[in-house]
């Protein structure tokens, strides 16, 4: 539709009428029924009415947007004046009398007429029907163009009192009055809706700067008494009102266009709620969007999957290319799903596009998900919107854009305060954080996967592992580890172990530790509570991986526990994993840390030492396997680690106190002890097979007793093997865990607590062991340097 230029009086009149028809207060779409009723009241032949509707584009769009409505009203006036109905006649016919509608709106119209200073025609006749607030009218006249709008709105609002709707109301006194009545009536009824249409009017009132201001005023106040409104309007910041008006205008246009279409009211609303002036979303629009969102996704905090969104937006009959572009703009976090914020933005863009506005290249600021960065692209929204705005042929008069830009900038700030945005921000921020920091994802997952601590750990550890691996060795590590992590906690443990192993092989002990540490810490932090054993197991693998030089002071209980677990595994025979390091903290932490790192620490230098140690602390090992048992992957890690560095394990076992092993062991299942014993025999050789047997002994919760003493006494040598065995056992026993969980929740909780305690102890041990590891590494380095120095001399 061509641009529509309305006089002030016409603007106001149309706004009133629109408000009248906008019984649902959508400010976007006018109910077809009301519109038709109104047209019938215009006393025009049906074919003329149909022609009008077609001309204004309503038939095309299927509903009466504001622009369509206004055009239709203008056409009604044209028809009533006897001019042929043509699109050009909308703007070419000057001084067109206001459309007349046979209704009881006469009084209102009269009142409006008087208030409309610009409507010379009507004013004369309406003098007798001065609207209640004559003051306003006067004020209007006397006020700046801006103010003129205000009085109109106020006058209109007052008029709402008159029952505009029913044509049966006061018979028109005169054609003029009729016209005025329409306005008044519509204005009266739309007192409230005026606020909405107000903003819309502004776009139409582009030609009239004052009208826009008035619209702003209107929008600012819906129900307040006209006089008050009048005053308040003045106070209302014009920008805000204008902003609201723009969206309204856009909506109107869209609504008008689609009057005749068979689209549902929703669709109409959808389309009418095109972006307002610079892409701002009014409250009504937003509410509409939210309702639409609810129809697809009842949970406002949830996501709309891409397929559902595609289906929904395809209904708007926009070309796929444009829909694709809209999706690109609105899917802020590129996750293939739309949050409420994203959905509203997309919907807004669809509506805008429907109204003819070009799509921006970048998401307008006002449509940005408020969650993440409100400050981002502060100008983006406005500028693109303006560009598109001006570029679009649409109903909105180009004059709107100039005023709008300024408004938009102020408006977005207002809009951004929407509570919904805030809520979205939380969500979007999380989503953004997801994209930015994979590690953050872990926390989310564990919470959901509370049932199995292992799985919980998996994600965080997996992420860490991947990160660690990538850092150190590249993508190779991530591949093997990541898949494991995904599958189950056991896998995560394995990954950890693998990663730790790899670390060892790569001679990047630090990395391995760090990676393992990261794993253990994550699970520990996340889901340690839920699954005692699993969490422990998850953590243990971390512990096994010696932390990098930067000491990790008990990064996570899981770590320490894992270390202990590893130690216990290697040392002890496959004792059952005690989900909780039952070992009383009273046990000297030092020995435990030494043990824990032992199995996992890769200390090639101290291989011999380890051997001796393991023999000395046979008891420690038994406990550790238990400890590791509940943290199945710990065992695995231990086993893997052991394979690589039995020496180190032994050394660790020496250092680690037996108690540590015992603590985890206690939480481990009894069955593990048996396995550990077997592992002992297989000390240096990672008896995975045996380990596999040990884990098979499902550690029922009650089984998770504290087998401290036994475990701790086991030699470190067996720790590694035991660990691996335990891990295998844990993995195997995992399936049984759910059963036990279902049975004995209390026991689980108790074991969880024990595990937590164990974790803390192990964490301490871990830190200490890490320190020891660092010292050892330094010694090694110094020794190597000496060796190199001596080497040349050897040839001499």
């Amino acid at each position: 539709m061509e641009g529509l230029t309305l006089s002030d009086a016409e603007q106001k009149y149309y706004s009133d009428l629109f408000s009248y028809c906008d019984i649902e207060s959508t400010k976007k779409v006018v109910v077809n029924g009301r519109v038709l009723e109104l047209f019938r009241a215009a006393q025009l032949p049906n074919d003329v009415v149909l022609q009008i509707m077609e001309l204004c584009g309503a038939t095309r769009l299927g509903y009466f947007g504001r622009s369509q409505f206004y055009i239709a009203l203008k056409l009604v006036a044209v028809a009533q004046s006897g001019f042929p109905l043509r699109v050009e006649s909308i703007n070419t016919v000057k001084d067109l009398p206001l459309p007349r509608f046979v209704a009881s709106k006469n009084e209102q119209e009269a009142r409006h007429a008087t208030s409309y200073s610009s409507d010379s025609e009507n004013q004369g006749s309406y003098s007798g029907v001065i609207p209640p607030p004559p003051g306003r009218g006067q004020v209007k006249k006397g006020s700046v163009s801006h103010d003129t709008v205000q009085p109109r709105t106020s006058a209109d609002q007052q008029e709402p009192t008159s029952p505009v709707v029913s044509p049966q109301q006061s018979p028109p006194t005169s054609p003029h009055t009729w016209r005025k009545h329409n306005r008044h009536s519509s204005g009266g009824n739309n007192e409230r809706s005026l606020a909405g249409p107000g903003p819309f009017w502004s776009p139409f009132g582009e030609a009239q700067s004052g009208s826009s201001a008035g619209d702003a005023v209107w929008s600012g106040h819906s129900p307040p008494p006209p006089q008050e409104n009048w005053v308040s309007f003045a106070d209302t910041p014009p920008t805000s009102t204008l902003l609201t008006m723009h969206p309204a205008s856009v909506q109107d246009q869209t609504t008008v266009r689609t009057v005749a279409s068979a689209t549902t009211a929703n669709e109409i609303r959808r389309q009418s709620s095109s972006y307002d002036d610079p892409w701002k979303i009014t409250d009504e629009q937003r509410q509409y969007y939210v309702n639409q969102f609810k129809t697809i996704q009842p949970d406002l905090n949830g996501f709309i999957p891409g397929s559902a969104a595609k289906e929904f937006f395809t209904k708007s009959k926009l070309p796929i290319l444009e829909l694709s572009h809209i999706w690109e703009l609105s899917d802020f976090d590129k996750d293939g799903a739309l949050t409420l914020d994203e959905f509203c933005a997309a919907f807004h863009l669809v509506v805008a596009r429907k109204n003819g506005y070009d799509l921006p290249e970048k998401l307008p600021e006002s449509l940005m998900p408020k969650l993440i960065d409100l400050e981002d692209s502060a100008d983006v929204g406005d500028q693109p919107g303006e560009v598109g705005y001006s570029g679009s042929p649409a109903e909105a008069p180009p004059s709107k854009s100039p005023s709008m830009p300024s408004l938009n900038q102020t408006w977005p700030e207002l809009n951004q305060s929407s509570e919904q945005w805030e809520t979205f921000s939380e969500r979007s921020s999380s989503s953004q954080t997801l994209t930015q920091f994979d590690s953050n994802i872990a926390p989310a997952d564990p919470d959901t996967a509370i049932v199995h601590p292992v799985p919980i750990r998996m994600t965080p550890s997996k992420i860490h592992m991947q990160e660690m691996e990538l850092k150190r060795t590249g993508s190779d590590h991530t591949n093997p580890t990541s898949p494991l992590l995904v599958k189950s906690s056991d896998l995560s443990e394995e990954n950890k172990i693998n990663s730790s192993v790899k670390f060892a092989s790569g001679n990047t002990v630090a990395d391995g530790y760090s990676s393992s540490d990261s794993f253990t810490s994550d699970p520990e932090q996340i889901g340690s509570n839920v699954t005692r054993q699993r969490s422990h197991s998850g953590t243990s693998p971390d512990n096994t991986a010696p932390p990098p030089p930067p000491p990790r002071p008990q990064p996570s209980h899981s770590r320490s526990s894992s270390l202990d677990m590893n130690r216990s595994f290697t040392v002890t025979t496959g004792q059952q994993q005690a989900g909780v390091v039952a070992q009383p903290p009273a046990v000297p932490p030092r020995p435990q840390p030494s043990q824990a790192p032992g199995p996992t620490v890769h200390r090639p230098v101290d291989a011999d030492g380890l051997m001796t140690h393991t023999s000395t602390s046979p008891q420690q090992i038994p406990e550790q396997p238990n400890f590791a048992d509940f943290s199945q992957f710990e065992v695995f890690a231990a086993s893997n680690v052991n394979e690589e560095q039995d020496d180190e394990a032994e050394k660790h076992s020496e250092v680690l106190p037996v108690e540590k092993a015992s603590d985890p062991a206690s939480s481990l299942r009894v069955a593990k002890t048996d396995s550990k014993i077997e592992e002992k025999t297989a000390a240096s050789v990672p008896a995975n097979v045996s380990k596999g047997t040990t884990p098979l002994a499902p550690p029922p919760k009650p089984v998770r007793r504290r087998l401290k003493s036994e475990d701790e006494l086991r030699p470190d040598v067996d720790e590694h093997t035991q660990k691996t065995g335990v891990l295998a056992a844990v993995l195997a026993s995992q399936p049984s865990i759910p059963r036990s969980i279902g049975k004995d929740k209390k026991a689980i909780q108790a074991s969880i607590r024990r595990n937590k305690e164990t974790n803390t102890v192990l964490a301490r041990l871990n830190s200490e062991l890490q320190q020891q590891l660092k010292d050892v590494l330094e010694e090694r380095i110094s020794l190597e340097v000496q060796l190199e120095q001596l080497r040349p001399f050897s040839h001499l």
Binding site: S324, W327, E328
Partner: protein, 109 residues
């Protein structure tokens, strides 16, 4: 050029057997005597292949640069794929994608 890319594709197929996930398949070697250009290949996990032909007149791009370009390309491609309105196999009409590719190319030259 077309034949070259076909050959490149064939070569990639051959590599599929050994390394399924070879993100950095730097196929550097198709250097015609007359047209000195290099063809780089990049395979994603979903067997989507990216072929990049570079003129050697431009100082040979370092391997890392090529890899980073492929990474960016891959990221942009996944963004495009996320769009439910995009049917896999269609010509990519995403403006963001095109702008990214253009900027990348400009950066190189």
């Amino acid at each position: 050029m077309v034949h070259t890319s076909l050959d490149v594709v064939d070569e990639k197929i051959s590599t599929m057997g050994k390394a399924l996930v070879d993100q950095r398949e730097l196929y550097l070697g198709l250097l015609y005597p007359t047209e000195d250009y290099k063809v780089y290949g990049y395979v994603t996990n979903s067997k989507v292949k990216f072929v990049m032909v570079v003129d050697s007149s431009n100082t040979a791009l370092r391997d890392n640069e090529i890899r980073s370009m492929f990474r960016k390309l891959h990221n942009s491609y996944t963004d495009v794929m996320c769009n439910p309105f995009y049917n896999p196999g269609d010509r990519i009409q995403s403006r963001a994608f095109d702008s990214m590719v253009t900027s990348m190319m400009i950066q190189v030259c």
